[in-house]
Symmetry: C2
Subunit: 107 residues, 2 copies
């Protein structure tokens, strides 16, 4: 019926994006490659936590990393991730609009 294996991989891929801290990192990487040392101060979470999220996304194929001395630079692996993010943004905003209308009608 379904390719269970592919479904699992797709699920893992989406899960790697579907988390608020990771989403923030992705948005931050919109302007291009960034060192972990630049990403970390930008977030309110702990260094270890950000590091884990970065590793997670790299393992999932969302990010690529490059080492330079003690620093590690991360960037988005596939530009289509941005298309995906825009798409989600559009859909979520459309949904918010829709719900706002319903609230207007009810009272």
């Amino acid at each position: 019926m379904f390719d269970e294996n592919l479904i699992q991989i797709e699920s893992d891929f989406l899960k790697a994006i579907a988390q608020s801290t990771r989403l923030k990192i992705l948005y931050y990487l919109k302007d291009g490659e960034r060192c972990a040392c630049e990403i970390i101060p930008n977030m309110k979470e702990d260094q270890s936590n950000i590091s884990r999220h970065l590793t997670h996304m790299r393992d999932a194929g969302i990010l690529e990393s490059r080492k330079e001395g003690v620093s590690v630079y991360y960037k988005i692996n596939d530009k289509r991730v941005f298309t995906l993010l825009s798409l989600v943004d559009e859909m979520v905003k459309a949904e918010i609009k829709k719900k706002a209308k319903v609230v207007k009608v009810i009272p």
Copy 2:
């Protein structure tokens, strides 16, 4: 820096898609509206489980539901979900290809 609230909503939206059983349901709904009674026998999971996943996706704005007698019909709310799924499919397959090449090179 970021719209924390929007990020959270987008994260929830993506999480509602990023789960293997729910992904299977979405793929099953590609051909259009389906009754829960049609979806359930198609999956190996329990009826209660599928019911909860359907409710989850409806609440997240991914699905719409329509009641007809004792049956409940579900369909995808926003066609762009399919665009998103295709995009994920492409990216995942590209990543698989990439990794296959690396494996070829190493030995």
